[in-house]
């Protein structure tokens, strides 16, 4: 198959008519569509999907309801018609497939999928194909089950990584989808039909056995186990249906929560900011209170400079008083010495007699000293009084609060700045949350927790019933064998049918295993070829496939490489898709939406070198970060047959511009 042109009309963000021409030159078979996130890359992929299969996928690969698909601006103008048209060539025949959705005439403003009617038209080499034959015609070259191998996005790639998680629910689902595409269901359905027939025959055989002498007890036991098996089967059907509902609710909650993530984040931030504001106010109050306590002694700091001067003066006076006391003591000593000398005619030092002439001189000296002492006494001060004043002043000066007031002011200033900032942010958040309901998001999160628990519990119950069912099956087989042994040559019709259906069931079972094993081997080989071309690690030997179609990288010595980077996971997933695609169909187009999110430049280069060779057409919807001029475009340059850019017109509208 080869795509020729996609024409969208009022399809999602593309108002009016939008045309995308696919490259037709086999040497330049790559088409690049560049667009920012949210601009409409996935809508182009959905345009192709909707044209072929009347389906569009949103997040988590869930179907987008039809009434949400027509362009909003067109709808606002009263135009409710939407169309996707794909022209392609397959098996040498030109096809023109057009799918159109129109508002039902009886509906004034459609707000449900049922409010629209969808019409499909197909022309084959110009001749109209009957509406009832269109699906069969599409299935000839692009059955829907296979679409996941040529129409896929980054999210689907990520989903394929789940295949490696043994026993994961998602992995099982993808495995079923893969087998569906690979044709295994034909055998599985045959086996299931045979199993139903076999059970019916077994029951008949049990009924007949109850009439045979000696087999009554076996028949009764068979009847009981058969009833239990029916009960377990019914339980499993009910539980699985419940699980589907629970899972659907869980996914819906996850989507809603993801959509309202910013509301939730804002609510959390708002609560935190409000709490912080309370703390700031408490801090301010506490600092103010501390400052008030400091104010009790602040008067001391006010008078401090003047009192310090006073203290210095007192210290100087104390020093003077000390010097005076020392002089007085010295004079006193000299006076006392002379007075003693004058009262005695013998020198107290040398013991010689003192002459009268000397005595007169000494008396004059004594008179001078006494005069000097009298003068000092005149200058005397009360040093004790000065010392007491000094001590009292020191006590006043011993307390200072100035530095603590300054620190408190600084803290207060910081808190006030922060409070202004926090209040401003709170205003912003309140504005953003205006008319939103953050409490609903919180309730959704709580509900999600409950639903997740229910889902896990439901899974356990299903596994329990499956075990019991297996036990009932074993018992029934054993009882059937006993009935068969007893019947010997005189088998009834029911016994014979039971044997035949049992044997056929075994054949189908084995065939399914064989087919799976063969398919896995083919997929493993194809995926390994692709992986070795795309991986940058040349020492890897290849890939090993598991029962779920999950792939493990084999190291240089054939050992499993347990840890893989996100980029390697993506290369493995791409290899698997390529391997599955080539196991199942002739080369056709590969359309990829935003697939390179986690890939480094080298891997991107390898993939971009490989896929244009592997596919008949290689269509890439990417953003600048994935594939800009500096991010891998050069690997493709010689293969590019067309290049478009998605331009924003408004929040509801985008348009395609051809660049080359």
């Amino acid at each position: 198959m080869k795509l020729i042109r996609l024409t969208l009309t009022n399809f999602m963000p593309y108002k009016g008519e939008t045309i995308l021409d696919f490259p037709q030159d086999p040497d330049r078979n790559t088409l690049i569509v560049l667009g920012d996130n949210m601009r409409g890359k996935t809508s182009l992929l959905n345009g192709i999907r909707w044209a072929f299969y009347q389906k569009a996928q949103g997040r988590h690969l869930r179907a987008i309801p039809l009434h949400l698909m027509p362009n909003r601006d067109a709808v606002a103008e009263g135009d409710w018609t939407m169309e996707a048209r794909i022209e392609f060539e397959a098996g040498g025949v030109y096809y023109d497939l057009r799918r159109e959705a129109k508002k039902r005439a009886t509906v004034s403003r459609p707000d449900r999928p049922e409010d629209y009617q969808v019409f499909a038209f197909m022309k084959k080499d110009g001749a109209a194909v009957a509406a009832s034959d269109i699906e069969a015609e599409i299935n000839r070259f692009a059955p829907e089950q296979v679409s996941r191998f040529f129409l896929f996005d980054g999210e689907l790639l990520q989903e394929y990584e789940e295949l490696l998680v043994e026993g994961s629910e998602q992995g099982k689902k993808i495995k079923d989808a893969i087998e569906q595409a690979l044709g295994v269901p034909a055998l599985i359905n045959g086996r299931d039909d045979l199993q139903a027939l076999w059970k019916r025959a077994q029951k008949e055989q049990g009924k007949e056995a109850s009439l045979v002498a000696g087999l009554e007890a076996v028949a009764e036991s068979f009847s009981k186990w058969s009833a239990r098996r029916d009960m377990f089967e019914a339980d499993i059907v009910t539980l699985k249906a419940q699980q589907v509902a629970v899972r659907e609710e869980r996914r819906s909650l996850e989507d809603s929560i993801a959509e309202s993530e910013s509301v939730y984040a804002h609510k959390i931030e708002l609560d935190a900011k409000r709490e912080r504001l309370k703390q700031i106010f408490t801090g301010i109050e506490s600092k103010e209170s501390f400052k008030r306590s400091l104010a009790a002694d602040a008067w001391r700091d006010l008078v401090r400079p003047r009192l310090l001067k006073k203290r210095d003066q007192l210290q100087a006076r104390l020093a003077g008083a000390s010097k005076l006391a020392s002089q007085q003591a010295k004079l006193q000593y000299q006076i006392e010495h002379l007075q003693e000398h004058l009262g005695d005619s013998v020198c107290p030092t040398c013991g010689q007699r003192v002459e009268n002439v000397d005595r007169a001189a000494q008396q004059r000296q004594l008179d001078d000293l006494l005069g000097e002492r009298a003068a000092l006494a005149w200058c005397d001060v009360n040093s004790e009084d000065i010392a007491a004043r000094h001590r009292a002043l020191e006590k006043v000066l011993s307390t200072s609060v100035r530095s603590r007031v300054r620190d408190a002011d600084s803290d207060l200033s910081n808190l006030e700045v922060e409070s202004a900032r926090v209040e401003s942010r709170i205003d912003e958040l309140e504005e953003e949350l205006f008319e939103q309901n953050p409490d609903a998001v919180i309730r959704m999160r709580q509900r999600l927790q409950a639903v997740t628990r229910d889902e896990a519990k439901g899974q356990i119950e299903i596994e329990d019933r499956e075990k019991k069912l297996a036990e009932a099956d074993r018992e029934i087989q054993s009882l059937t064998q006993r009935m068969n042994a007893r019947a010997g040559q005189n088998s009834t019709r029911a016994a014979v049918m039971s044997k035949i259906f049992g044997a056929l069931h075994g054949v189908f079972d084995a065939s399914i295993d064989n087919l799976r094993t063969n398919l896995r081997a083919i997929v493993e080989k194809n995926a390994t070829d692709a992986f070795l071309r795309m991986s940058t690690q040349k020492s890897y030997r290849g890939l090993s496939i598991n029962a779920n179609y999950g792939l493990t990288i084999l190291g240089p010595d054939g050992e499993c490489v347990p840890l893989r980077s996100a980029g390697a996971e993506q290369v493995v997933a791409l290899s698997l898709i390529d391997g599955l695609s080539r196991a199942n169909r002739a080369p056709g187009p590969v359309v990829m939406d935003t697939p390179f999110g986690r890939l480094d430049t080298k891997h991107r280069h390898n993939i971009l070198s490989y896929l244009p060779d592997s596919a008949r057409q290689f269509i890439l919807f990417v953003h600048d970060g994935e594939l800009g001029e500096s991010a891998g475009m050069e690997s493709l340059a010689h293969r590019i047959g067309g290049k478009y850019e998605i331009q924003e017109v408004s929040s509801n509208q985008s348009r395609l511009r051809r660049m080359s």
Binding site: R292, S293, L294, A295, A298, V303, L307, R389, A392
Partner: protein, 131 residues
């Protein structure tokens, strides 16, 4: 120096009291007595030699409450002549004058304890010659 007999209870004019009440009410001080002492200190720091209170004076605090360790009296004694006017009589006059000055600042610049303390550190031309 001989001091004449001093007060055992000190107070302020009614206007002065109203000013202190406002200071406390505005959250500048935890207690009225703290505002009272701050007003005294403020006037002392500015070198004011205040006249006697002319209007009716009303007692507010016992001395033991407002100046339990006598520090305020010590400061006044050092900065003002206390032979004829004893320290706590000066205190009343200083509180009266100081509270008025603070009230004026409050109106013009706003009350800011930190700034007032910082300003007190700066040399002032208004200060009277030290004893």
């Amino acid at each position: 120096m001989t001091e004449t007999s001093d007060l055992t209870q000190i107070g302020l004019s009614l206007d002065g009291q109203a000013r202190l009440d406002r200071f406390k009410g505005s959250g500048y001080f935890g207690e009225l007595r703290d505002a009272y002492k701050f007003a005294v200190g403020f006037a002392l720091a500015k070198g004011v030699v205040p006249p006697e209170i002319q209007t009716k004076r009303q007692t507010m605090f016992a001395i033991a409450t407002v100046d339990p360790d006598g520090s305020l009296a010590t400061a006044i004694r050092e900065l003002l002549p206390c032979d004829e006017v004893p320290p706590y009589r000066w205190a009343e006059r200083l509180a009266e004058a100081g509270s008025q000055m603070i009230a004026d600042i409050e109106v013009t610049k706003g009350f800011d304890l930190g700034s007032m303390l910082a300003e007190a550190e700066l040399p002032s031309r208004d200060k009277v010659a030290e004893r």
